[in-house]
Structure formats: C-alpha cells, structure tokens
Amino acid sequence: MTKFEDELKNNNFVCSNCTKCQHLVWPPSDFCNKCFGDVVWTPISKNAKLVEVSSKDGKNFCIAEFEENIRVFGTLSGSSRPNPGQNLTLEHCSYDGTPKFVFKIE
C-alpha cells in the first residue's frame, strides 16, 4: 500500500509535489516528471471543474480537473447533469483496488 492509497482510504486526496520546481506530479511518483527533483506529499484542493460527463445505468461518471493539472475519473452524486466547466467539489475519496472519487455539483 502506498502513501497515496493510504491517504485515499482516509478520505484524503494527496499528490506528489516537487520540492525543486513546485510541479504537482500526477499520477504521483517518487520523482518530479519535469526536473527529476525530490517530491513531498501535498493535499489537493477539493475544488474541481467538470471536463466531461457520461452515464452508465443511470449513474453519472465524469472526468474532473483539479489544480488545472490533475484529471481523474469519478462518480457524480445526485441526478443533475452538469456541463463542462462547471464547478465540482470532491465529496469523498477512497481506495479499494482502484482509486474512487465522488463529486458533487457546486
């Protein structure tokens, strides 16, 4: 279990942040993918924007973007259908073999 997975299990979304150039490295890695600098874990803001949305069996899933760099697939709670660019909030995250992200519409 990695720190990333551990934190997700505790409902914390963290990512590696380069100590040299401050780049947020996504997906997380032991080294910066811009400058190979060392990284530290940093919490990610819960604010995101909707990139795209679809649904399966009536449940909306989406790609959301954090910090203008970090994009993830996740589930949209509720039945409303937002448009790309709309603000979302990370409601919950966890890890169970794969990362799980649940968003709500702002």
Binding site: F4, V51, S54, K56, I63, F73, G74
Partner: protein, 369 residues
C-alpha cells in the same frame, strides 16, 4: 537508411479457442514458409514477438519452435499497438543494416491482461476501456453534434466489410437497427460499438531491398512511419474530441513518405470503438473536424471499402498483439491485389493506424506498392 519491404504475410482465423499462444503464432508463421518459395528459416536473422500475454523469452521460444536461430530476438509489448511497434523495431533493424530479414509475429488470447491498464489510476474505478470511449463520445457529440445513429453506421459498415474477410471473428451482418438496439454499456457506447477481444495471430516478413528481390516480385515498401506517445494515463489527452498522439504520428508518417492524405487509396484504422473511427478520420485529414460521421455515412451509402476493408477491429476482432500486424497484412494484400472480395481497385498506397490505451500512443505507417 536502407529501403525496407514487406515480402510475405500470414494470418490465422480470429476466434475463441483453447489453442495455446505458441501454437497460434506458429499457425501464422507456417504460411509464410509455405508460400515464399526461396525463404528458408536460415535466412531469418531477427524474430520479434508481439503480445500482451506476459510470456518470458517468447521470441526465443518461437524461434526454436520455428527452426530459426536469429541474431536478434525479443518481444515487444505496447498494449493495443504492440503489433505495429514490433514492425517499427523490425524496420529499424533492417533499415540500419543490422539485419537483412526480420520475422514479426503477434498473437493474443481473448482474455489477455492487456485489455485493462491497471497502472492508470487517473481512471479511478472506471478502468474498463468503455469508459474512456464514452468520454470521447460525449465530447464529440457535444462539440460536433455526433449522434448515436452516426456511430451505428461505423459498426454496420465494418461488420459488413468483415463478411468478406475469412479471418474475421464475426461471420454475420448486423443491421442499423441491430446496432441501435444492442445493449447499452454506457449511455453512448453500445455492445456493437465495441471491438471484440478474441484469439488471433498474424505475421510479416520484412527485408532489405536487395533481399526482397530474392523472395518476391511484388514487395510492398514501408515508406512512412510516425509514432507518438503523449502519456500512459488516459486523462492527459486534453481535447477529448480529438486524439493528440494520432495527429502527431500521422503528420510524421506523411512527412517521411512524402505523401498526403489525398494519396491514400486504402486505410486500416484503429476502430476500437465506433467513435474512434470518426475521430481518427478527422485527425488524419480524411475530412474536416466534425465531418467524420458524414464521411462514414458516405462510405456506407456508396459501398466504398477504402476505410477498414477487412472490417476493422469492430468486424474482424481485436487480439491485441496481433491487431497491428493484421492491419498491415490487410494493406499488404490490398496493395498486392490479393484481397479478393475485399479488393479496393487500383490501390497503390495504403495507411495503417494503430493505437493504444485511449490513444495515449499511436503508430501510423504508410505502405506503397
């Protein structure tokens, strides 16, 4: 760099069987030695295997089982574009002069582990390829008004083309209504919009110009190669109505071959899902952005087989490690006039587009007679 030709090909029926991977590969290699009069095992100095089967030392095993003692042998894995990646490696060995004759063979089973990239945590719990396909579809629908009906025509056309491909997995036609009524996997991806994972193997021999003359009077030249990897994570492709790696790869392939889209007579492109064919036609310049659906509809209405004449991945099936090689086999057969009922008349230049993991990586080849 030396010129590099394709001189012989082999392919198996795509299906689902209990046959082991090694045997499938040998079944694709056998016709090469049966049909190429002057080619003997001793002539082959490179053997490359393409698979997602996590098999150790496979190229060496296949070499031994084929009676070949190559100078160079190894496997190439790059998910769905493993096949064309292995061909590009073979091209590099021959064009550099490091080798003269290379045998490339690809195969996978229907349950191969390359179907899902578990590493990609950006996919969250939505790991199956239908979810990235659904995102491409949503974006293309939103930006260009593409409809579920437009998508259905890709599937109907490619299944129809596959009926004349004896290697194809599907042996029945599907009507427009069949596709529209097929099971919804997501709101905009239906079962018949998807390529079918299956068993299959395909092989190719590539040679230097001087050696090619010994084996055939009709070599097919690899004149253009473009490859681009933007990432392994699906979400790094910024514009979901487009495929960044494909646009880069095709530009390089056109540049290297000194050809343009207008020169292409026949094309095999990577229709992992219906929406892929529409986006790829646009991104490779066959039509303007937003016109891919109309382009497909025109092909269907006029029974024009220039795009995916063997049925593409949707009609022929998708045994990952074999797919790119099978696409090249088809263009070879088209350019040598051996495509039988699928033959596109007077085809002299062809294009192969093969991609991986939601187009995070693409390979484009230009072939000429």
């Amino acid at each position: 760099m030396k010129k590099v030709a394709i001189t012989a090909v082999g392919i198996t029926k795509f299906n689902k069987t209990e046959k082991p991977l090694d045997s499938m590969m040998l079944s694709a290699i056998r016709p090469i030695f049966e049909n190429a009069e002057n080619l003997r095992q001793d002539d082959v100095d490179v053997v490359l295997t393409s698979t997602n089967a996590n098999r150790n030392y496979l190229a060496n095993i296949i070499s031994e089982l084929s009676g070949i003692k190559p100078k160079i042998s190894h496997s190439v894995e790059s998910l769905c574009n493993s096949g064309t990646n292995s061909l590009v490696s073979a091209y590099a060995y021959v064009s550099s002069g490091l080798a003269d004759i290379a045998l490339v063979v690809g195969a996978d089973k229907a349950d191969n582990p390359g179907l899902v990239l578990n590493w990609d945590m950006t996919r969250g719990e939505y790991v199956h390829p239908i979810f990235w396909s659904s995102m491409f579809t949503s974006a293309h629908m939103r930006k260009y008004g593409t409809s579920l009906e437009d998508l259905a025509y890709v599937s109907v056309k490619n299944h129809k083309n596959a009926l004349d491909n004896p290697s194809a997995y599907f042996e029945k036609s599907f009507s427009f209504d069949d596709v529209m009524a097929s099971k919804n996997l997501t709101e905009n991806v239906r079962l018949l919009d998807c390529s079918m994972p299956c068993d299959g193997a395909a092989s190719i021999v590539v040679c230097s110009e001087e050696k090619a003359k010994k084996f055939t009077d009709t070599p097919i030249w690899i004149s253009g190669i473009g490859q681009k990897t933007i990432s392994a994570s699906f979400t790094k492709n910024n514009d979901l109505a487009s495929m960044e790696s494909t646009k880069s790869a095709v530009a390089d392939a056109y540049r290297m071959s000194n050809k343009t889209v207008d020169d292409m007579d026949v094309v095999e492109l990577h229709d992992a899902f219906s929406v892929c064919e529409i986006i790829e036609l646009e991104d490779m310049g066959f039509c303007q952005k937003g016109q891919g659906s109309k382009f497909v509809r025109d092909l269907y209405d006029t029974d024009n087989r220039m795009i995916n004449p063997r049925g593409g991945l949707i009609g022929a099936g998708h045994p990952l490690g074999a797919t790119g090689i099978a696409q090249v086999v088809e263009i070879y057969q088209q350019l040598t006039g051996k495509a039988e009922k699928r033959q596109v008349s007077n085809a002299k230049t062809g294009l192969v587009h093969n991609m991986s993991a939601g187009s995070t990586s693409s390979t484009v080849l230009v072939l000429e007679s």
